[in-house]
Symmetry: D2
Subunit: 268 residues, 4 copies
């Protein structure tokens, strides 16, 4: 079987080392400049993904096929580095997979949307709500770059006013006031469906947890995840000095069917 | 659209609260006993997933449709609680999605295999190697329970002797001597393919990292992930007292095409 | 210089390994029983601290002179293992040293009192308040055992009603409602004096921080400390699996002199 | 009792908020410049510690009496922020207090020496070894500033060649090759005395632990400490985004008397 070739218009991840990678669109006649010299992108076209190229200063770059984590980390400079750990846990807790239908709010620059779309493809759909149009445009661009736009419906709307979809497998909240959207999420989810909320502050977590109990969700849990990178080298192995100490708390829960009609409380 | 009904033979997750859940196969004529009384499973058949049921002692359980994390956490008592965080990161770093072809070793009791199969379905495949037959049987049972056996090929073999597949999207290693399998993983992966190794000790990480460099992998990184659960209650919010302090380190890397023939060093 | 000998009535820390240590009072005619056999304490009298002794089953124990951390960890079974890290930081943030005068509330079983007394001796004093007499008795016993009772005044009283001392170097709060004691601590401290509060919940931290700002404290900071033990063995080195995920938050601040009379706000 | 006055020549900690503090020597005729305007230090002389002063731009600074943590954190820009947590644990594990005699190597810029001297005063002594004279000079200056030089003997020497003192209560190692000093530390310590070693890499920890076992130390333990600061504000409370992920591992152990002569192995 032949290796996959890099085509005009493809994105490649030019990798110098684990800390220095660059997402570049391959266009003939263009050059990519770094502090380690420039690369003629003409040379890259038609070569194998995974191949090595030398810059004008002789530094070797590997032209990797971008992976999901690359698309996430290059979605926005602000969310760089820290987001994949949270996206991974949000996706895992949500239970989604190929074919799932999931609502998300807000879209932001589409980092988490990218992860959700990656995992529901090819038969599922992500309905993502965002009020700010400039964010939507960035998200659309990022999703297109990752070839995931077909699995996403970008919606300009306010989820506190309602989620239009029904029988969803999961609802993902990453907005300032998640507790206000909990009732709408309950309505939009199918029974036993999963809600996952990501919030930076404790106060958001407490309000959201209270709203979840009130709305009829069960199996409510909140976790935080600390990811620490290691410097691995024989005789010098140690954790890196600086790390991200906090991004946000992840709260997840499942929709229970209410009310409890089969066995009334007074007859138990 | 009608809610999904619980059928004879289905598995349900009986949920008392976030810390006490039970994976139960629904069979008519059987009862499920807990310290909070017993449930007649006859009553559950034909009801909605997400519905509530009372035990003989009046305690309310919710009968949830099991999610991926439930199948992972109930795969083996030993890996309970701690595994989903690592499975989530391993999956994310591996870049796999629907349609991916991935090799894994060792299978163990199939917790990670379950996660991999969940994400590659319906068109992908997990080729999982295990030497110990008794583990394979447990894994097979766990995968069948999660309806994921169709997407897995359980192989009885020693990956240090070779991985039979070629052009794989990812290779996942969770065994005692990952460094010995790195050359085989290189051969089995397609260019730019991803290897992820999970190891409890620093020494394994160092040896594996050295083997990855030697074999021609790039973008090599090792992280560890600490997940801490919160007790959320207005006026009493705090992290839980006990946590899992360590499960293992996750090392991931990507296959670069070697040798670097296009631009010889002396002409650079 | 001769080694220090173990005398009748001394406490020794019998050490089997880092995880199994026993605080024992040396009394002639008594034996100390463990699952590894018994030791005749007669044999220990007159020997050097640091010496090794064999149990009836041949297991070797080292009879160490108890250190501060031993007295803290053996003060109460409930605070075992986790407390020294917090005591260390509380002491460090408080700025106390030999000669310092410090108030503490509540005394509890005296674990933190033991640390405070250790560091203010021989010329300083710890004024420790406790409402529950049974705790006071345990604390007194623990302090006596550690030879630190002379540097402590055990007071039966309610610090929310007032701290009797004045011009204190530090006030240490380890009670359910620290915010109620902040005004009393302000009055009791000398200018630039330090308050340190230890609380398990976020809500306590928020209320205490607000009370500190209101009372005239500055340089207010809250931290939490996670301590993780390592299993160190060539070829098998890794963090231990279980760890204490949370004990409490440490909030510290310093008393600023108020009001700001020298330069009235309207003339600035 | 009168408040303590700020005198010519004293150091004050000018505090703008918890993140912006400045250690300043009070000298008449001098001004202290910040981005928030300047302060005439003349105004500060004769005032109370803890008093507030306004800069030329109207910003209020509190002139605090420097505490131990301030001296540590201002000892060297490189060790700022992260060191007090480690100094606190090193001191606590070492068991030292007023009157203790302790050796340290290397002195560095004296941050840890400052902590050790603070806790052994007024009757104890810190013998601190350093090979590089320029570091010794900085350390001497830092110790003098903290009024702790009287309790320290700065020694220019190589501890791998030997520690001159005997019957020490503790030996503290913070150097590149602690395992080479372990035999010397054993000789210098009194029985049951404590050694504490601080090292950034796992490899140092493994070698040191092996050397400790070989030399006759017991109760050997290695820990790492993660300290995370909180942003505390009602409705917005959360951990800070960035934290120090790693400084070093702390290994501590106690000297057992060897050989085990009283009860030969073959007669046990």
């Amino acid at each position: 079987m032949a290796n996959e070739k890099i085509c005009e218009g493809d994105y490649v991840l030019l990798c110098l080392d684990a800390r220095r990678t660059y997402m570049v669109k391959v266009e003939t006649g263009k050059t990519f400049h770094t502090h380690k010299g420039y690369l003629n992108l003409d040379e890259v076209v038609g070569k194998d993904f995974g191949g090595a190229f030398r810059s004008s200063l002789g530094t070797e770059f590997t032209a990797l096929k971008p992976s999901l984590t690359d698309y996430i980390m290059k979605s926005s400079r602000k969310t760089q580095i820290t987001y994949p750990k949270d996206a991974a846990l949000i996706v895992m807790f949500s239970g989604i997979g190929s074919g799932s239908r999931v609502a998300e709010s807000g879209t932001g620059t589409g980092a988490l949307t990218t992860a959700l779309a990656h995992y529901v493809k090819p038969n599922g759909k992500v309905y993502t709500y965002e009020l700010r149009e400039e964010f939507q445009k960035t998200a659309e661009k990022n999703l297109k770059r990752a070839n995931l736009l077909d699995f996403v419906e970008l919606k300009n709307g306010d989820v506190t006013a309602g989620i239009e979809e029904r029988d969803l497998d999961a609802v993902i909240l990453d907005l300032a006031t998640p507790w206000l959207v909990v009732p709408q999420a309950y309505t939009a989810l199918k029974p036993s469906g999963i809600i996952v909320s990501f919030s930076p502050t404790i106060d958001q977590v407490v309000k959201t947890t209270e709203a979840l109990k009130e709305a009829g969700f069960v199996f409510i849990e909140t976790v935080e995840c600390l990811m620490r990178a290691m410097q691995v080298e024989r005789g010098k192995t140690r954790p890196h000095t600086m790390m991200t100490g906090h991004t946000g708390y992840i709260t997840h829960a499942r929709k229970a069917v209410k009310p409890l009609q089969e066995t009334p409380k007074n007859s138990a």
